[in-house]
Each structure stands twice: as C-alpha cells, then as structure tokens.
Assembly symmetry: C2
Homo-oligomer: 597 residues x 2
C-alpha cells in the first residue's frame, strides 16, 4: 500500500468542540439552553462560548491551564464545557457537595488558574479559599502565583448582585471578542477535563480525560442509550459527575435542548419536565424516590415516555415497579470516573418485554454490556487473571480497555501505573458474566470477604440486611477469624420503632434473620449497631473506616464452634462444619449490587 500521509482534510483531531461548531451550523436556530426565563439558540451558545474563551485568553489562560468551577446545573456550567477547552484549557468541575477543606485540596492539587463560583456557593468557596490562602500566608510570592483568579457566576435569570472579587461571568461573556479564533486542538490526546474522584477509600484523585476519549465516549453513550435527534434533556444529573456522563457534549452532538435546573426538587423536576416536554434525563436511583414522594401540588402532567439513564446503584425492582408506570422508562448503566462515565449499559432486548415485570426488573438491575468505544471488557479471576466462565456465578474482577479510559491520574504516576496495568484498567469491582454476555457487579474487590477460601460478596449480604424491616443502613466488611482467615462483620443502623427506640433489635435477631435468608457460611459472625454509618461528602459509605473498626474485633474459638452447630429449627440442612458449603446464591438476586457512577 502506498504511504498516504495524514493531512488537514482527512485527519482532524477528535474533540467534542466540533459538536458545538456543527450544532451552530446545522441546528443554528434551535433552542440549546433553557433556564427558567432564559433561552439560547445553538448559534447563541456557540457565540457565547467563543466570547468566554476569548476573555479567558485575555486573562492569560494558556494551553493546559486548569479552570475550576463550583456551580449547579446552570447555563454557565454548560457553556464552560466548551468555552474552557476552546481557550485550550482544562475544565475542572468540582462536586458542590464537598466540604471546604476538600475543595481547597482540589484547588491546590489542580493548580487552578481561574476559579468560577456560582453565587450560591460563595460562602463555601470563601471558606475553601481561606484554607488555601492559609497555606501561603507566610510566602507571598508563592501565594501570588498559585492563588486562582476568582470569578463569580451570578444567576443569569434573577441576578442577585452577590460578588466574590471583581469579575462576573456575564461580563466576561459580553466583553469577549466575538470573532475569537478557537484554539486549535493539535493533538486529540490533549487534556480536556480533570475530574476528582469522590474518595471513598483515599484522598481524591484527579482523573484526566483527553479530547479523544471525551469525543468517543460521547458518541458511545448516545448510541448506547439510543438517543435520537432533538432530545429535550433535563439536567438532574450534576454536570460535575464525569461531565454529566458526557451528555454536556452529547446534547450538542444531537442538537438537543438542555433544560438547566438549579435545584433538584420534585417540584422543579415535574414543572420542567411538563413545561418543556422533557424526553431524557440521567440520575441516580435516589432521584426516583424524590419523584415518587412528591406531594400532589408538586406534581405536573408529563408527556411520556421520559427516558431515564440511571447509575451509581442498580435501580431496585421496587422503585422500577413504581416509577415506570408514571411514564419514566429506565435504562441502567455502570461506570466510573476513570472510564469517562458509563462503561456498561444494560441494553434492553426486545424479547424481554414479554417477561413479567419482576423478571424485567432483575434483568434491568444488571450492569449490562460494554459501550461501543470500549475495545474490550472482561471479567478475570482474581487469582489467575484468566477470564471467568459465562455462568452468572464465577466471580472475577471487571477490567476495561479502550479509548474511553482516562489518560491517568494527575500528578500521580504510581496510582496511574497501578490502575492501568498489563493493558487493562482494573475497576476494582468484582462481578459475574451471565450466559447472555451481560455483566453483573457483585462487589468492590477490596470489599470481598474471603472466608475459608470462599468469596463472600459484601453487597449480596447487605442486600439481604436491607430487606430486614428495621434495618436503615447496612455495611458488611471482613473481620479476622481464627479458623477461616476472614469472616463477615455487619455494621447496621436501626430504624426507630413507634416509641422512637432502636435498642429493641438485638444482634441475635439480625443473625437469626440472616440464617433464614443466607447460606450458613455467609452469615455475619458479628453485628455491630451504630446510630449512623460513616459517609463521604457524596453520601457513599466509607467502608475503610468500618474495616479499621472490624480489625479490633475478635471471634472467640468457642463462638466458632457454637455457630457451626447444626440449627434445624432455622430450616438449614445438617451440614458438616468442616466442609465449607459452596455459594448457592442465584443470579438476579442482588438488586442492590453497586454501580459506581
């Protein structure tokens, strides 16, 4: 074959910025953004982004500088997903639920040059900046160079006048040169975004996306969700979550309408869904509760179906059975910040429509199949690293490879090389492959309890505990066991009874309940009651704290013997206590298995 070199006509670096340019060309007069009384067309959004990019440029923002933002799902937040990379910079959207200390850590670690702050978050940002300044109070020179320029974003629809420093977002947009020539992306491997992980197990890590990865993931998710043209997309999912699972860029690609939402209340959701005939939204399953628990005056008529992509946790059957008849059609996805959002989508198969609703819910709770731009997904045996059998039972670690995977962790080569090893990204999640090729997550690999050589899924055990009528919160971790190495230890918070008490539920009650509902070897050897389980700023349970606690517990030999006595009254067979029973869990039972988005 001839050497046919690349040229500017046939090799253009892949970047989501082309989606906006194209939308401005081909969907020029369609509505791009709606936020209360404010509306823009795609031509306007493009021009606003160019102006903002021009202003960033005149503020000396150069290629690869980090621009941080702390804001809810408002138009400015959407625009920055294009304007910041248009200036050659890297967008760092910060989780607004974090505390000031963590935000200060992120600003310091990312070396943010500019920090955009929505007016609502000025108090939080002020505190974070105070902490950041504290670092440098003895060192004025360093302070000058490393402290970010702060720009407040006032509400575009109802300006409040709240300020933090001199500059305001709309001023920057209006002052920017409308003819600004967008910074050319020379290399699609260049960074576009920096997203910090929530840090369930350690310090937040800065995940870097390339233009290429963002572009391809965006296409994949439109395809995986089968999103057609002209979607009306409600911004319930925070844009700071993996850039809104790439739909910040995807709605431009589809010429859709972004319905922005400052507060995720049932009233605001129903009102916007009704008013703008919303067709699509993403959210964690917890949002279904908000919708279901809405009072009559908070509800509005919706035009079904509203397509809902959900992740972060599998949608429980009980919620699906209530939410779908309201006109919400749910698709389940699984992903991680490191995979640019969803990496698996539970693609629905037409034949499943024939099944009863309960069976459908179980299928839908599975994490599904790889998105198109992943080159490969596999589940590998934790010990041999061979692929597991597709039997829905054999447990292994989920590994991914392909262009949707992050470039790496910012300023953390050790963590990067640990995560991206032997040609795979190790998710740290363990799961199974069903005979039809669909994956189902069972646990975080570090949360698997290895008891007498058997893997016990903490998530499976927790899902049983959650079905106990008095259990409010539950988490299971490993504790040392003199005979079996590890054994499960449950931490439980109990719902108050009619008298407002919780102490009527005893450890023995919970253990007896587990014996009824679990194979013997999976029954927790200890149940510890806590008023509340320790959580991160994003509401995830911090198992590493519980694990530290569990290490202090000791199971006495006598207890071991006692627990292994046959217990006919619980309907268990008379199993030998020297033989470890095999895991008898069936597929589809684990509706609470974790999806990590």
């Amino acid at each position: 074959m001839d050497l046919l070199p690349k040229c500017n006509a046939n090799y253009v670096p892949l970047t989501p910025l082309t989606f906006l340019k194209r939308a401005a060309d081909v969907y020029a007069n369609r509505t791009s953004v709606i936020y209360e009384g404010t509306r823009f067309t795609w031509r306007q959004t493009y021009h606003r982004c160019r102006r903002l990019a021009a202003s960033l440029h005149s503020l000396n923002i150069v290629k690869n500088d980090v621009v941080s933002v702390l804001a809810p799902n408002i138009p400015a937040m959407y625009e920055m997903h294009f304007a910041v990379p248009m200036a050659g910079a890297v967008l760092n959207a910060i989780n607004t639920r974090l505390d000031a200390k963590t935000i200060a850590t992120i600003l310091r670690h990312s070396e943010a040059k500019v920090f955009f702050v929505d007016y609502q978050f000025v108090p939080l940002a002020r505190e974070a900046l105070r902490l950041l300044m504290g670092d440098h109070s003895q060192d004025f020179v360093s302070f000058e160079s490393s402290f970010p320029l702060v720009i407040v974003i006032d509400d575009i629809d109802s300006p409040t006048g709240v300020r933090l420093g001199e500059l305001e977002y709309e001023q920057l947009v209006h002052k920017g040169n409308p003819n600004y020539v967008v910074e050319d992306i020379q290399d699609e491997w260049d960074p576009i975004a920096l997203n910090y992980t929530s840090g369930t197990t350690s310090e937040p890590k800065g995940v870097v996306y390339s233009h290429r990865g963002a572009y391809l993931s965006t296409l994949s998710l439109i395809l995986g969700w089968e999103m057609g043209t002209e979607p009306v997309y409600l911004w319930t999912l925070p844009m700071f979550h993996c850039n809104g699972w790439t739909f910040t860029w995807g709605i431009a690609a589809r010429g859709g309408t972004n319905v922005c939402l400052r507060n995720i209340t049932s009233y605001d959701m129903y009102r916007n869904i009704s008013l703008h005939k919303v067709t699509h939204m993403c959210c964690a399953p917890i949002v279904f509760n908000i919708l279901l628990e809405a009072k009559p005056h908070e509800r509005s008529q919706i035009t079904p179906p509203v397509q809902v992509l959900t992740g972060g946790a599998p949608p429980p059957a009980s919620l699906l059975e209530k939410i779908e008849p309201l006109g919400f059609h749910v698709t389940h996805a699984y992903g991680l910040t490191e995979a640019t959002g969803p990496a698996l989508v539970c693609e629905w198969q037409a034949k499943w429509n024939q099944l009863p609703r309960g069976a459908q819910a179980k299928l839908k709770a599975r994490q599904g199949i790889s998105i198109l731009t992943l080159a490969d997904v596999d589940v590998k045996d934790l010990k041999t690293m061979n692929s597991v059998s597709r039997d829905g039972k054999s447990i292994g670690e989920i590994v991914l490879r392909g262009s949707s995977i992050m470039k790496g962790y910012f300023k953390d080569p050790n963590a990067t090389s640990k995560a991206l090893k032997n040609g795979w990204f190790a998710t740290g999640d363990v799961g199974v492959v069903h005979p039809d090729g669909y994956l189902e997550i069972k646990d975080r690999s570090k949360d698997v309890i290895i008891s007498g050589g058997e893997n016990i899924s903490s998530v499976e055990l927790e899902s049983v505990l959650y079905r106990h009528p008095r259990v409010l919160e539950a988490a299971v971790v490993a504790m040392p066991h003199p005979l079996w190495g590890e054994s499960p230890c449950a931490f439980v918070a109990i719902k108050k009874n009619a008298d407002g008490k919780t102490d009527d539920v005893k450890e023995s009650d919970i253990i007896a309940y587990c014996r009824k509902n679990l194979p013997r070897f999976m029954v927790p050897k200890k149940v510890e009651f806590l008023p509340e389980l320790p959580k991160t700023a994003t509401g995830k349970i911090q198992k590493f704290q519980l694990r530290t606690l569990a290490k202090t517990f000791e199971v006495s030999k006598s207890r071991v013997v006692n627990q292994n006595l046959p217990s006919k009254k619980n309907g268990q067979s008379n199993q030998s206590n020297t033989e470890i029973p095999r895991c008898t869990a069936q597929p589809h039972e684990h509706v609470l298995a974790m999806s990590r988005l």
Copy 2:
C-alpha cells in the same frame, strides 16, 4: 498538565474489527446473518471470520496485501469485511456490474494477491483474468508474482460445484485455525479497504480507507440514521458500494441481523422483508421503482415501518408519495466514495411532520447536514473560495474535512493532492445552503454552465426536461457560444409514441417547452436527439462524452440574435437581450439534483 502517556489500556487503535469482537461477546447467540436457509449467530460469524483470516495468513497474505472480491450480497462477502482486515490485509470489493476490462485494470492496479469470485461471476472473472494474463504472457516471472490466487465462492445455501481453480471459500473457512490470533492493528491510520470509483469522468481511482475512518464513519451513520439496536437489515445496497455505506461494519456494531440477498428482485425483496421482519435497508431511489412495480404475486405483507436510507440521487417527490404509504420510511443521504459513503444526511425535523406531503418531499430531497464525524462541511464560492450566504440561492462548491475522508487515491499522488487541498476535500459538487443550514446539491462543478457570467445548473435544467412527457433521458452540458462563452446544449432520448416512433418530437418543441418553464438565459441553445445516452457500467450518464460532442457544435451569430428576440406568445416578458437576466430559480424545485452515492 502532567505528561500522561498513552498505554494499551487507554489507547486502542480505532477499528471496525472491535465491533465484531464485541458482537461475539455481547450478542453471541443473536442471529448475525440470514441467507435463504442458512443462518449464523454472532459467535459463529466471529469464529468463521477468524478461521478465514487464519487461512489467508497461511496463504502468505501479509499486512497491507490487497484481497479482491467479486460477489453479490452473500454471507461470504459480509464475512470478508472482517476476515480480510483480521489478516492485516486490505479489502477490495469490486463492482460486479463492471466489464472484464475494467476488472482487469483494477486487479492490475491494486496488485491483488487473492481474488475471491462468486460462482455466478466466474465467466466474467475468467475473462478479466484472461485479459490480465495477456499483460504478462511474455514475462513468466512477472506473471507468477503478480497474478492473484483465485478462490471461488460457491453458493453456501445451494452449492453448484462451479469452480475456477482449486480453492473454494468454505474449505478455507473450515481449514482455518479457530484459535487464530487476529492481526493487531498497530496504527488506526492503516488501510482497511480499497474502493475504486465508478469513473464517470476518467479511469477508476482507488480510494483508500483507514481503520480510523471506517470506524468513525460507521458510528456516524448509525447516529445519522438513528439506527437502534437489533436492526434487521436487508442487503439491497451492494456491499461493494463504499462497503455498503459502512453498514457492513455497522450491523455488527448494533448487534443486528444481516439479511443477505443474491438478486435484487421485487419478489426477493418483499419475501425477505416479510419473512424476517426487516427494519432497515439502503438503496438508490431506482429500487423504489422495483418495489412499486412489483406484480401482485411478487408482493408480501410487510411490517412497517421499514427505514430506508437512500442516496445516489435525491428521491423524487412522485416516488416518495407512492413508496411511503406502503410502509417504507425514507431518509435521504449524500456522499461519495472519497467520504466513506454518506457525508450528509437529511436529518428529519419533527416540526416538518405538520407540512403537506409535497412540501415534505421537497425538504427530503435536500442533501441535508453533515454527519457527526465530519469536522466541517462548507459551501464555498467557486471564485473567491469564501463561504456562500445561507440563502438557498448562492451557489458554491461543497467541501468536506474530517476523519471520514479517504486517506487518498492509491498510487496516485497527483490526484490525491488535487482532491485534498488547503485542508479540504473538494467534492466537485456545487450546491447551496438553505437558511436552516441544510445543503442542497445543484450540480457537479464541472457540469455547471457559465453563460454570460451566470451559473446555470445543468441538473436544474435536466429536471425540467425530465418533466416533459416524451423525454426518456436528458443531459445538459456546455457548448461554446460566440457571445456568452458557454451556453446549454441538451442531449435527449425520446420515449416512443403509440406508433413506436420518436421522430415526431422536434428540437423546436423541446426549446418551446423550455421557454415556458425556464428563465430565458437557461433555455438550451441546441437540443440533440440520441437513441440512448452514453453511460458507465453503474448506469451513470457519461457527460464527458457529451461534452466532447457539444464542443463540435457551433451557435451561429444569426441564431443568437434570433433566439433573443422577444417572444410574447410564450408568456415571457420583453427582456432586453443585452442584459443577462438573474437566476430566478427557487429553492426546493430541483428534486432531481444529484446525490453522488
């Protein structure tokens, strides 16, 4: 930003081969291919392709070798789209409608190492090979090294025993090592396919696609056509046309079913659509005629809607009005071999559903908007090369850039650098941009007639001629004009009248008809009758032959004066003959404007 280098986990070359690997994983037991009584699943298709790749490997096929194939839309043709690149080779699917001489030219130019031939095309291939051998009859060494290995493809469903040489396709599949390790794509810029243009204007040129281009175009077309999962795709469009407009790879990406079709007859189409509940098909508008003209016994009940992507020519309103009520929903696309198939798709807008059917047909006849993976599409003024106004009137050349554009022409650096110039691929088609951003093609740039400084679209003029009840075929080219430089010359083939005669239609009749229906300056100055217009093997009119003929015509001065006399009886205003009237053509009138697929 840190330097975060690419690694095998996060940078995997883009190639359509991943679509097949993924389909075998996640759609393993779904039907991949149906051909009469033969059926395969995606797992089987994957394994068959691996085996064939292994056999090619053992036949000493190495990286970048060309493998040619002459076959209709049968399973083998589909499998080769994966198996050939799996062996590292480049697929050259040859148009089965070409003559032996052109096929010999292609085999010679491509330096094909292997030549697969469907049993039906053995006589044609034998003749081509005889011509090819003729080149080398004096030079045995050269003959040995450059003559391709010939492998016949017998009918998999009803074997005929026809052979051409020793080897047969199914043998190769069965002998291949099932554990063959697929050749790694090291560079996504590597070639995957070589497609020869039809040569309307010159010798066929070999258009080379990269793995990257093929991958991205595939995603774009699924998106542009909004093809969901589990499509049942009928192979009416030849796979040798830009690799079936990338749907060879696309159906694997979507886990769909390929319904193969040896003969494109109305009976076979209806039968397969009905039997397999076909959801999607691609074809030229001419196929609508075949479907519409089917006799009652050739028809079967279809399950609407069947989504039809059409190109090659815009679908005429008259056909749309007949075909759509039958349950076929038509989408119009425009493209070129050089753009890996469709580059523009006439994306339908919901609001257009409110319009009357005729208005819808006119909108649908426009070529539309760029597919997602093109970085940019523009229409540039032929003289200044500035972008034209979006007014639906200003004519310019359509230029494209992005990852869907070919690598270049095989062994033709001159043609390559001429086509890929200044960062754009020049399509050679001229068109307009409507205010809503949708493009409409007016002509091939070389077919535009420049008369007294005004651009005359030959296609526009032809569309008027085609509406004349007695015109069977029409083509308009430029002929020299002593006053205006060029003027339009029409070549027309006339339908026979009841007496089987054509000579009752005179030149003056046609000219009078044109005067009634066209602005004066556009009226042909000469009409030449031919029994049939010269065409390529694919049925496209060869204007370059007509242009040569027209150059021999001369318009006398006296005729010029005569033609410019006012002619009140034809309802034309009394225009001065020194002033060239402006083009008054309205948008949407040109339903026969050419789409080049």
